[in-house]
């Protein structure tokens, strides 16, 4: 039967190939949507990695994540350096990186931090931050740029930049009395890090020496910086701090202790949980993806059923001849079932190979272009279920012409 089937399919090479290719295109679309959806969610949840907790002024965890990870919104409160130093003394802490937010440079947020930010903060699947050019800042007059900032503003190592007070660029609020020299540009990460300008906390404090209540009181040009006492540039407050713990098992205890810190109202947020919560809020995109997937499945099914029925229609005469020679309904049903299975399996295997090859070879390009890393895997359980439904529908639709052969009068069919 198999040789008869293969010969029959070969005789209908063009329509059979077209059905297979159309079906494969639908499957590719379905798999791509599924993997991009997963990639987008994973990418979002991995906007920051390697950080066990974020400490900030007591507020909602989403608010804290929004301005510390996504650089969105404004922190309403700061935490004192004493508190940060206190927390740093805890035995369960491995490292702590404070950050101060609030200023910007030509629309890009400024993150004032310590050089060890680039050592501890990771992105994606625990990938370290790497430099495309130069090195991290080491002096208070140096700056490091995220890749998008350097690319869009055409900066490179050695460029001089000035910072604007606040997040909106406006005349008169520029810190035009001090310039920072770019020492390094980070590689693209596909996270908000790409759109940030990194300064030393002391440099940031220096910028604000002459400012009081959001207004410039005196210019840095009017004072002798060398005459400043050594601790004058130690920040009094920071916006938040990223924390790495020695053991992840202590995270909930740590979080509880921070919440109960008696000297200041602070809280600790677990980024993974907060990001998942945030994703479920902004998850309309996710729901949109799911809806799109189901629409594609429905269209694929309709297309496949139509194509198989159309292509098998011209097989009715062939099947009628088999019947005239005594072929049983079982034989004819097996012929169409096997054909539908061959078409469906070739389309599914082809689509899996194509999508997997693209995700395998183009992950870096996709990540650079869109900030999405489609998950590399052969096939998921959910995909197997969907393909099962599609194969079953193909087989059932293939049975229609076979049933029609038996319902139609043999005499009419052969004449």
């Amino acid at each position: 039967m198999l040789s008869l089937l293969l010969k029959s399919m070969r005789s209908r090479m063009i329509p059979t190939s077209l059905v297979t290719i159309s079906l494969m295109a639908s499957m590719v679309l379905l798999l791509s949507i599924e993997r991009i959806q997963k990639g987008a969610e994973e990418g979002f949840n991995q906007s920051i990695s390697g950080v066990d907790a974020i400490i900030g002024p007591r507020s909602s965890s989403l608010e804290l994540v929004l301005y510390t990870v996504f650089h969105l919104g404004r922190p309403t409160n700061n935490i004192t350096t004493e508190t940060i130093n206190d927390v740093k003394q805890r035995s369960d802490i491995s490292w702590l990186v404070p950050i101060a937010l609030g200023d910007s440079h030509r629309g890009f947020r400024v993150v004032a931090t310590e050089p060890n930010y680039f050592k501890h903060i990771r992105y994606g699947n625990n990938q370290p931050l790497t430099f495309s050019k130069g090195v991290p800042f080491a002096e208070l007059s140096e700056a490091t740029l995220g890749s998008d900032v350097a690319e869009k503003l055409n900066y490179s190592v050695g460029s001089e930049i000035q910072i604007t007070h606040g997040s909106i660029e406006s005349i008169g609020s520029k810190h035009d009395d001090f310039s920072f020299k770019v020492t390094g540009v980070l590689n693209k990460t596909g996270t908000p890090i790409d759109q940030a300008v990194f300064l030393d906390l002391k440099g940031y404090e220096l910028l604000h020496l002459g400012w009081k209540s959001g207004k410039k009181v005196f210019s840095l040009e009017d004072i002798d910086l060398s005459s400043l006492p050594p601790d004058a540039l130690n920040p009094k407050t920071v916006t938040a701090a990223f924390v790495g713990l020695k053991s992840k098992l202590t995270i909930f205890n740590f979080s509880k202790n921070i919440r109960e810190y008696p000297e200041e109202a602070i809280s600790a947020v677990i980024p993974g949980i907060a990001l998942s919560e945030l994703w479920s809020i902004v998850g309309l995109v996710d729901k949109g993806f799911q809806l799109l997937s189901w629409i594609i499945i429905a269209i694929s099914l309709i297309a496949m059923v139509t194509l198989i029925i159309a292509s098998l229609d011209n097989r009715k005469h062939e099947m009628t001849i088999y019947r005239a020679n005594g072929a049983s309904p079982k034989f004819l049903a097996a012929m169409v079932i096997y054909e539908s299975l061959v078409i469906g399996l070739v389309a599914i295997i082809g689509a899996i190979i194509l999508v997997t090859a693209v995700t395998y070879f183009a992950t870096n390009q996709l990540n650079l272009a869109l900030g999405i890393s489609p998950s590399f895997k052969w096939i998921s359980l959910n995909e197997i279920k969907v393909f099962g439904i599609i194969l079953l529908s193909g087989v059932l639709s293939g049975l229609i012409p076979a049933v029609m052969v038996f319902r139609k009068n043999l005499h009419q069919a052969l004449s």
Binding site: L4, S11, A324, S328, N409
Partner: protein, 219 residues
């Protein structure tokens, strides 16, 4: 072997045909002739079990068509009847030998009557005047005359009890018709088989033991 009893057929367009009674035994060769549209092919389809009986009955070796399902009639046809269709009904993408082999593919009883399939196909092809070199050629590359012989070989393979032939010579010229009929009759095994042929060409009557002329029947 075969007997028709009071067969009538009502077409959808209103025409009604009352067929003459037919009785045929092994060794007999019957020609049914008549003008086009007089119901010859319909009668053959009823005998082959390819068309549902409306009025009357057919008995084949004691089996009543009226009590058999279309599936059982399909089995009866596969096991006992070799049918040469007017439209040939060959599978275009299969080779000549594969098309001939279809005749016994679905019938164990006909298969059991063929010792060596290749030898039997060679014998049939040879006796029907086909060149052995065409055996592996796709059937759609053959002339109509050659295809006619392939259809005949398929119907004859496995020595079915009854051979039904529907205008098998309609596309052939008179010389080829004679040659074809000679070849078919030579392959015909009078001890085991019977043949009913339908043709509008009354000149082939000498090849048959009896003739039913539908023109006279309806006159």
């Amino acid at each position: 072997m075969l007997q028709t009893l009071g067969l009538e057929y009502h077409y959808q367009h209103g025409k009604k045909i009352v067929f003459p009674e037919i009785e045929i035994d092994r060794g007999q060769r019957l020609l049914i002739s008549g003008f086009s549209g007089c119901g010859k092919t319909t009668l053959l389809s009823l005998i082959a079990g390819a068309l549902k009986l409306q009025i009357g009955n057919i008995k084949f070796d004691g089996q009543d068509y009226s009590s058999m399902s279309s599936l059982l009639l399909d089995r009866l046809r596969a096991n006992h009847i070799g049918y040469i269709f007017q439209t040939l009904n060959l599978i275009p993408f299969l080779s000549v030998s594969e098309n001939i082999g279809l005749g016994i593919r679905f019938s164990q009883s006909r298969k059991s009557r063929v010792g060596n399939l290749n030898q039997e196909i060679n014998r049939l092809v040879d006796s029907l005047g086909l060149d052995k070199e065409v055996l592996n050629t796709p059937v759609n590359r053959l002339s109509v005359g050659q295809q006619q012989r392939v259809a005949a070989a398929r119907a004859l393979l496995g020595k079915p009890d009854l051979i039904l032939a529907d205008e098998p010579t309609s596309a052939l010229d008179s010389d080829t018709t004679k040659k074809f009929l000679n070849e078919v009759m030579e392959t015909f095994d009078a001890s085991k088989q019977a043949i009913i042929m339908v043709s509008h060409d009354a000149s082939i009557a000498p090849y048959f033991d009896s003739v039913i002329d539908f023109n006279k029947h309806y006159a």
